[in-house]
Symmetry: C2
Subunit: 454 residues, 2 copies
């Protein structure tokens, strides 16, 4: 048996992020101003983001240098291990070789600090005093809380109410890192109050929480806003994952046939897959890159590609993306990080161009997959990661049927230590699958013309 | 700056455990039979333990081979990283070089699987169908649950009631790994029922939970019992920690002046310290090895060295150890793993012989230390580990005062992901220090003669 855990020396950590825009055959369409419906310029985004991040958002450069203070902060947990899933392979009796990149070793227990640290750093350079943000399951809020205290910035988090109540430990860890956390919709913002007037028992969504965080940032010049996924610069920062994984697979003498990651906004998937997609785009390789979403929030497999808002209230620029409509309210599944109505512009364009694949998975089989993984690999996965594992198991079964020894790589994007109530619900038979009726989906985006602003 | 995380290749993992008995100047006194008060023979222990573990319990061999299936299971998470605490050093402005061995990467999030895996393996070899055990904070119960399902053994856990209620996530993860978990004292055993009759609101202790688990094991020939600390074979299995740390410090070109670990029963401390103590005992080195206990359960600093029972009801053999008395009820501190009335025979003998040091720490400054560590090093420590960190900070301050560049190594024995309610209580000002009156301590051991059986 070869070695199980492949560690990359921290002196071998990649020193640039990979910007896939440079290699995309069709470049992404521009975001549009919510008022004028014209392409937004950098100045339109300045109330929300520091200039350095706006420049990364529109950059065409292939390789972007990682600043030394960010590299330093990365070294607290990076490079993360690449692990051969011998235990899972044996349980599945598959000829497939399964590897996972384990991002759960980070301070927040997921991949999110990769961009949180970069964003906090660039904000600190431009004198920002406070950052507002939204969080779903709490992974992003925790990461930003950690990053902000590293660079001496205040942090205010709007946490989707259903997760706020389901996952109290997540709130506590954000508090530990010095952040203020509010259940969203809250009564602190116009957006939150409007939603609560319409529906006092509203359980929140990422779209609503974004509206609240954006509103607070826009109202104060020394406050900026940070997004944990969706935007180009966020996806860019995550590409350190896939670049490390490439080096580590090379150390193991292997190369992937299939790369799999969950997709909520897109940064998890992009982080692992884009550096491999590069090989497809520039070297004629043919790796299958599969984004896995929840069947209860199926923008990739059942949404439409069009301009839509990033938030529920329509405060953000319009983005060209696969969407279920910005007012889509996903069911209260435990994979809170995947409850977002749209997919990032870059992932959407790549899917539209047939360069990546998408799959939707139901909640209960995902937990089943997660439990098998925990027992065989000794790591309890985050519910988001379970979506990738369910797909991996499917591909491993196919490899067994066809007798092909495929190499499968997936992103174990985080641990589930703060999600144990979800597992308890699973064992108690309290979880549900959510098969959405077509009318729920099309109803929510009625009136939105394809590739036209709403 | 040198590298932060020192990874040992898994092919370099030590293949033997270190048995300090071989090098102790005064060998440990024998355990006595609770009925006859005569030294127990192997056959006395057979109802509770498999013969292979009984042999390790009395072995005088210096190096004991780790079986290959145990090595394989270790490779899921071992070797664990050794990390240079640059962030903490900077925050303390100390010339000390601080390293921690991070055992939180294991399946249960602490060092406990090092012995759980070995114990489950030896039990499986001897055809054992079920193992019963106790658990305090839940770290041990989780580790044994994971290990038992690896080797196809049923697992039944008696969890100290205060922790059962404080730490529900711990129960859920034990359930995930397939164990049955009961709050102790329970009504399933004679021991539990007796305690509950006396005091229906009894919050439990490790001593009571041990009584329950031992009683269940003794009643069924295909059921054995496993202990997570205290016994010689348990300490033995943990010595892989210190052996790895030695190799990793050597890779970093360093050698410790001070080695620090928390002490509950002793396996945490022994695991890290014994391989370094070996250098004191056999090579004339002079490393200070400091065991840190809670001020609310101060057997090392305020207990007496004498024969006492390992459990509350007096079912176990009598052990020669530093003890607060087997019916001592420690306050409900959050470091549940340190709420045990006695210290292992080996640690007790070493302390008595002046070969190790002991310190007691209050709860609130320990949490203060843990929060500083989390912010500067990106890992939320288990409350048990915070005791070591508080001592590390004290030694780092001393180094600063004296201007000496000491090398300090400590055992970051686990993460605190399942202990977030404790941190929340800390921030909410709900935690207490517990200064025990002398009469509480001496009262509880009244009538016990020094080195005489009770």
């Amino acid at each position: 048996m070869s070695i199980k855990k492949i560690f990359l020396d921290e002196r071998e950590m990649p020193s640039t992020w990979y910007n896939i825009v440079a290699d995309m055959p069709n470049k992404p369409l521009p975001p549009l101003h919510p008022g004028t419906k014209q392409p937004v310029g950098p100045e339109d985004l300045l109330p929300l983001f520091p200039m350095a991040l706006i420049q990364q958002e529109v950059s065409m450069e292939r390789d972007i240098q990682i600043p030394e203070p960010v590299m330093d902060a990365y070294r607290v947990y990076r490079p993360t291990p690449l692990v051969r899933a011998y235990g899972l392979e044996k349980a599945l009796d598959t000829p497939a070789r399964i590897y996972y990149k384990y991002e759960g070793v980070s301070p927040s227990g997921s991949h999110k600090p990769n961009t949180a640290i970069a964003q906090a750093y660039y904000n600190s350079l431009e004198g920002v005093k406070k950052i507002t943000t939204e969080t779903g399951a709490g992974q992003w809020g925790t990461a930003l809380s950690y990053a902000c205290q590293l660079f001496g910035i205040e942090c205010e988090v709007y946490m989707v109410k259903v997760s706020y109540n389901q996952k109290p430990y997540r709130r506590h860890i954000m508090n530990l890192f010095g952040s203020q956390v509010f259940a969203s919709p809250s009564d602190r913002t116009h957006a939150g109050r409007t939603i609560l007037q319409r529906d006092p028992s509203n359980q929140g969504s990422l779209g609503i929480a974004i509206s609240e965080a954006v509103e607070m940032a826009a109202a104060d010049p020394s406050t900026k806003y940070a997004l944990g996924s969706v935007l180009n610069h966020v996806l860019l920062h995550q590409t350190i994952i896939g670049q490390e994984a490439k080096k580590q697979l090379e150390m193991a003498g292997d190369y992937p046939d299939i790369v799999i990651a969950p997709l909520g906004g897109g940064s998890n998937f992009a982080g692992l897959a884009f550096p491999f997609l590069k090989d497809n785009l520039t070297e004629g390789k043919n790796i299958r890159c599969i984004a896995v979403e929840p069947a209860s929030c199926p923008k990739l497999t059942r949404g439409e590609f069009k301009y839509d808002f990033g938030d529920t209230m329509g405060l953000t620029p319009l983005l060209p993306m696969f969407t279920l409509g910005h007012d889509f309210m996903p069911p209260d599944i435990h994979a809170g990080g995947l409850r977002y109505h749209g997919a990032s512009v870059l992932c959407s364009q790549l899917l539209k161009d047939g360069l990546i694949e998408a799959q939707a998975k139901q909640q209960i089989p995902c937990f089943e997959a997660g439990v098998l993984f925990a027992k065989t690999e000794g790591i309890v996965p985050a519910p988001e990661a379970n979506h990738a594992i369910a797909q991996v198991i499917e591909e491993a079964h196919k490899a067994k049927e066809s007798g092909e020894s495929k190499t499968i790589l997936f992103n174990l994007c985080g641990h589930g230590h703060f999600d144990m109530t979800a597992y308890q619900d699973y064992f108690a038979g309290k979880l549900h699958n959510h098969e959405l009726a077509q009318e729920v989906i099309t109803g929510s985006i009625a009136g939105i013309q394809n590739l036209q602003p709403v």
